[in-house]
């Protein structure tokens, strides 16, 4: 297996870079969208709330694989053709946004009611109260679930292989089919995914510990 690993290393390295790129970009975009969806849901404005609820229901009620296939293979029929990587990023972002919006929402709802009132009592607008008082606390409350979602997303990036994005899983498939050493290749990438997840969860624990100490 070692010889195979050494020979595959350059391709694996490229795959790792693409995997991490997909994961981080989709996470950043998805978090931004998720925050907007959470705010829409909490806005108390009926059409916005309805939109947010529908969004959640659709994206959490359908497999991410189907969402990716729909965007890459389905949209061209409507004249919208996207490259594999943008398709994957859009699908992963929209998917993770549905989870992130729930994480943000429960974080925001987890902040004591008195905090909002104290913010209002010194004359803040709703937006100032959210940005300066509520959100920093909500983020801390939601850090564990947000971290878990990031780790899950890193693994979900393997779905991009079905739309020909050459990320880690696709690399393994290619080398496997060229050498007929599928077993070794998939063991190798499983180990790599495991390594990425482990590093991330150590980072998550450190972050949580530091946040607990901050105040």
């Amino acid at each position: 297996m070692w010889d195979l690993f050494v020979r595959a290393l350059p391709l694996l390295a490229e795959g790792i870079v693409v995997t991490i790129f997909l994961g981080t970009t989709s996470f950043a975009l998805g978090s931004a969208i998720g925050l907007l969806v959470a705010l829409a849901r909490l806005s108390g404005i009926a059409p916005l709330t309805a939109f947010a609820v529908a969004y959640l229901s659709i994206f959490r009620g359908t497999p991410m694989l189907v969402q990716i296939l729909l965007i890459y293979f389905g949209l061209p029929q409507l004249g919208i053709s996207l490259d594999p990587i943008p398709s994957a990023i859009i699908a992963l972002s929209l998917g993770v946004a549905s989870y992130q919006s729930e994480n943000f929402r429960s974080g925001i709802l987890g902040v004591e009611k008195g905090q909002r009132e104290a913010a209002f009592s010194i004359g803040m607008t709703s937006w100032q109260a959210l940005r300066r008082i509520i959100f920093p606390q909500a983020l801390r409350i939601a850090t564990p679930t947000i971290g878990n979602r990031f780790i899950a997303l890193m693994k979900d990036t393997s779905l991009a292989s079905v739309v020909t994005v050459v990320e880690l899983t696709r690399v393994a498939e290619r080398i496997g089919s060229a050498t007929f050493r599928y077993l070794e290749m998939f063991v190798i990438i499983a180990a790599i995914y495991w390594g990425i997840s482990t590093v991330l969860s150590i980072g998550q624990e450190t972050l949580e510990r530091r946040m607990a100490r901050a105040f």
Binding site: G114, A118, S121, I122, G123, F215
Partner: protein, 276 residues
């Protein structure tokens, strides 16, 4: 010379939560520099009343005029009205029963937050003023501590500093000592005495009899959403007329048969009065 307008003018204010009518026609004037203590049994509407004064609670009916500005009650939310309400809030400080300090900010951060974010004061200037406010409540050396590292009494004093840093015309207090262990009451009450001595207009919901006797210009007694008695403290504690007020005072005297904190406190407070 014309009579100065009251800082707070409340007329016929009503407020209901669902089917429960919590305020049933409140009239109240608070003049500049006056200290008004509000008493009443649990559920009589004291908290709701003072929350109506800075529109944390929206009165359903009536008029509330603060610092010469009237905001229409029960008028829904318009952009203009919201900004009117925010304007009033910058002139009315509030101190909560449970402090409600911002846990992610230091003591100084709590005090300067409104100055920087709401008043758009330059940061340096805010820090100078913030430090002065912390010194005023005796906590200059705690400027960099987070609330979790402060005692309850210190938290409440920071909360007072946060309220007065905005340089309000009126400060509202909702049972500022009742979440504190009895030995911590005095440090908070002393800060409040200092404010009163400096001429701050204050509306204080509290059952601290000694404080009311010594500092209040007037005691207002609420029962079931109305003000049933209003008198100078000496008068009120000696000769309350309304039966509910009398039984309330009797209850306070004999409160807490387990001999807990409240009894100790009331015993001490009432002893100072010498009228019982």
């Amino acid at each position: 010379m014309t009579e100065e307008k009251p800082q707070i003018r409340v007329r016929a204010v009503r407020k209901r939560f669902g089917r429960l009518e919590v305020l049933r026609g409140i009239d109240l004037d608070v003049k500049r520099g006056e200290v008004v203590v509000v008493m009443g049994v649990s559920g009589s509407g004291k908290t709701t009343l003072i929350r109506c004064l800075n529109f944390l609670e929206e009165p359903d009916e009536g008029h509330v005029e603060v610092c010469g500005r009237e905001v229409a009650c029960g008028a829904g939310r318009s952009r203009e009205r919201s900004s009117q309400i925010r304007h009033i809030r910058t002139h009315v400080g509030m101190v909560f029963q449970s402090f409600n300090l911002f846990p992610h900010m230091t003591a100084l951060g709590n005090v300067t937050e409104g100055l920087v974010t709401v008043k758009k004061m330059p940061k340096r200037e805010a820090i100078v003023l913030g430090e002065r406010m912390l010194a005023r409540v005796g906590l200059a050396e705690k400027r960099d501590e987070y609330p979790s590292r402060l005692s309850g009494g210190q938290k409440q004093r920071v909360a007072i500093a946060r309220a007065i840093a905005m340089q309000p015309d009126v400060v509202l207090f909702d049972e500022p000592t009742s979440a504190l262990d009895p030995e911590l009451h005095e440090e908070v009450l002393n800060v409040m005495r200092g404010l009163a001595a400096d001429g701050m207009t204050m509306v204080v919901v509290t059952h601290e009899v000694a404080f009311a006797r010594e500092v209040a210009d007037r005691v207002v007694f609420m029962d079931e959403g109305t003000i049933v008695e209003e008198a100078a403290p000496a008068e009120f504690f000696a000769r309350a007329r309304h039966p509910r007020a009398r039984s309330f005072l009797r209850l306070m005297q004999h409160s807490d048969p387990e001999g807990g904190a409240a009894a100790e406190r009331d015993g001490q407070s009432l002893a100072l009065g010498g009228n019982h």
